[in-house]
Amino acid sequence: MARHWLKASFPLVLTAAVMAGHALAATGYKDLVVGTGTDASTLDPHLCTDSATEVINKNIYNNLVRFDSSMKLVPDLATEWKLAKDGVTWSFKLRPNVTFQDGTPFNAAAVKFNIERVLDPKTASARRSVLSMIKSVEPVDAVNVKIVTSYPCGSFLFQLAHPVASMVSPAAVAKWGNQKFGLNPCGTGPFKLVRWDSGEKLEFAPFDGYYEGAPKLKSLTYKIVPEDSTRALLLESGRIDVAFRLPVTEIQRLTADRTLGIITTPTIMTMYVALNNQKGPFKDPRVRQALNYAVNKTSIVSDVVNGYAVVADSVIPPGVWGYSKVGGYPFDPAKAKKLLAQAGYPNGFEFTLWTPVGRYLMDKQMAEAIQAQMAAVGLKMKIQTWDFQALMSEVKKGQFDSVLLGWSASSADADQAMYPVFESTQWPPNSNRALYKNLAVDKLLNDAKKEVNPVNRARMYKDAQKQIMTDAAWITLCYPKQSVAFRYNITGIEVLPTEHVLFAHTGKR
């Protein structure tokens, strides 16, 4: 591999500084231009629902707690926290002397305002349920705040790191109103919005009052470049400094360019085929196991996505709290055939796999590889491709045979990573798209939700992961990776497994 290739393993600190040095030009700061595929939807973090916009919002806002690059929870606007013996009262000590970009002080009252804004039905936040376990927020003094949950909530701190729990300026919301705040955002983060040309670019200036010190850049611009190959060409010709979300084929081509650096890191997504557990042959766990044995995940990872994924060894990825390496199904077509015969299908059967196109890493190509592997054990699999929104509407009806999807829990906790997709009250139209049901797993997931002891929680989630893998609710495929490409003179880009890319400490020589 070329020497500009940085294959960072998970717990490493993933900064570009490692390879590009860290000397900043002493003479003045420069403009950083980032090429991204889609325009932001809304810069109001309480209303935002798409990860492409979350990435941009991360420049404007902070949370009480945040993830570091190894997915550990670390202080952000809260410096310390403690859970009382009752299991529901959390005390937070806030970072003193922090102000929002409009000069409004950040304090306990601001925390109360923000959480109540998300919970207020009038705000119509599509992520309200992330914080809905919060019963009350009580400021103690300016820098101390108590948050009470309605039940002992094991994943509480993770929920507070979710983008919807970003802190926005109460004064700015009062000034602009809910409708226009998203166009006039104001947080405590390292960059403030200067200008937003719809479909074209978003321009930011460093915020001098940022609590970690103003970023060492003159400006930060996100240029909207929807076409992947155009984004790659712009990076090569030096017209942009950083490119997001390049397809595997482009990344491979760019690897050879010595003026570029590439950071490849894991994400917290699992790609899977949801087999409809309540339909036809898939009702039989032996059939579902057979399908798992029939799929050669190693070959999919190395040949279809060229190594830009890791073979899954559980239904949740290592970046999610509660992950346990329970092991998957090795590629064993002979065993697959045997299991199919035992289940009464010695001659196989026909079924359809639904897949979106271009929504997930090489999704359609993966479906085609699976099709060939199914044929090898006598299963005739048809592929039906869909526009993503249409696919989601159809999947909600629960009438499909199987569907290729990805799931990533943006709170990076096992509760959000497992409860919505495996608990049996969560069948479609909810997110348990495999219509999986196992009462033992239901109990584990419900108990773990209300368990605040991390050791007990971890054990429950481990048991649940084991059982789900044994039941073969899904064909568990892989954990995709992400890549960010940049010019050699850029330093200090931080890429998190949540797919957030932070520029607070980025420099340009």
Binding site: P121, S125, G199, E200, K223, P226, P420
Partner: protein, 303 residues
Amino acid sequence: MYFLKKVMLTALVLIGAATCSFMMLRMLPGDPAEALAGPQAALEDVETVRHSLDLDKPVARQYVTYMSNMAKGDLGYSFRSRRPVVDEIKARWPATLRLSLTSMLVAIACGVPLGIFAAQKRGKLADTVSMVLSFVGVSMPSFWLGMLLIVCFSVKFQLLPFSGDDEALNYVLPSLTLGLGVAANIARMTRASMLETLGQDYVRTARGKGLTEFRVVKVHALRNAAVPIVTIIGLQLGALLGGQVVTETLFVWPGLGRMIVDSLNARDYMVVQGGILVLAATFAILNLLTDLLCKALDPRIRL
């Protein structure tokens, strides 16, 4: 009288376009509330979103609200950005219009002379070569041509920029990409129309008078051949205004086509409806202008 009729017809076209886009969007599978809330949203959150967008009201009522607001010039709000649709269009529309016009200039500058030339050399090698060229131009996908131009002029020789619309040079490559395809169409139409007029008696008379070939072509033949050429230019300009999504995407052009497609993928109904309405209005106005121009060129035409 003509204008009154035309204005009423245009109003009908716009009402029709608004109604069609309204209905077709709602027949399309995919739910805007779900699209906005995202694939991982809890069901109750999706319902909150649906309510906040008024999508829980009966479709008939949504339609009446939309049409009556439209009559007042209010095209609603984008579901995603909560920006007024009128503002979204104002931000995108000029870029599309400018690119369409520069592309059309390229197309006319290449297509008309090529067509005349081919007609004059009818049946000779030059004619065949010209027509093969225009055939290639018509068949070449704009995506491929654009990519070729970028790789050649921007990456390899670094002569021209290829992204955004902030400076004049940025217009060169996208205008060529769009213009060359249209030029081919115009060339074929010009050739056909010229061939017809070059065979007319008055052209023979003009030649017989001893006029130079240039004057024969320019004054006598081209003027009479112009009506179909102007008509196709009008039609193609309409197509340029509505159908340059691929080129806009490739050249990072902040235009209307891309806005509509992006919004369609996100089921942002209001923006799609607004965009289609503006395109329909432009098309109607272009048709009117083409009619007037044809009338000016050929007084025999009765409007």
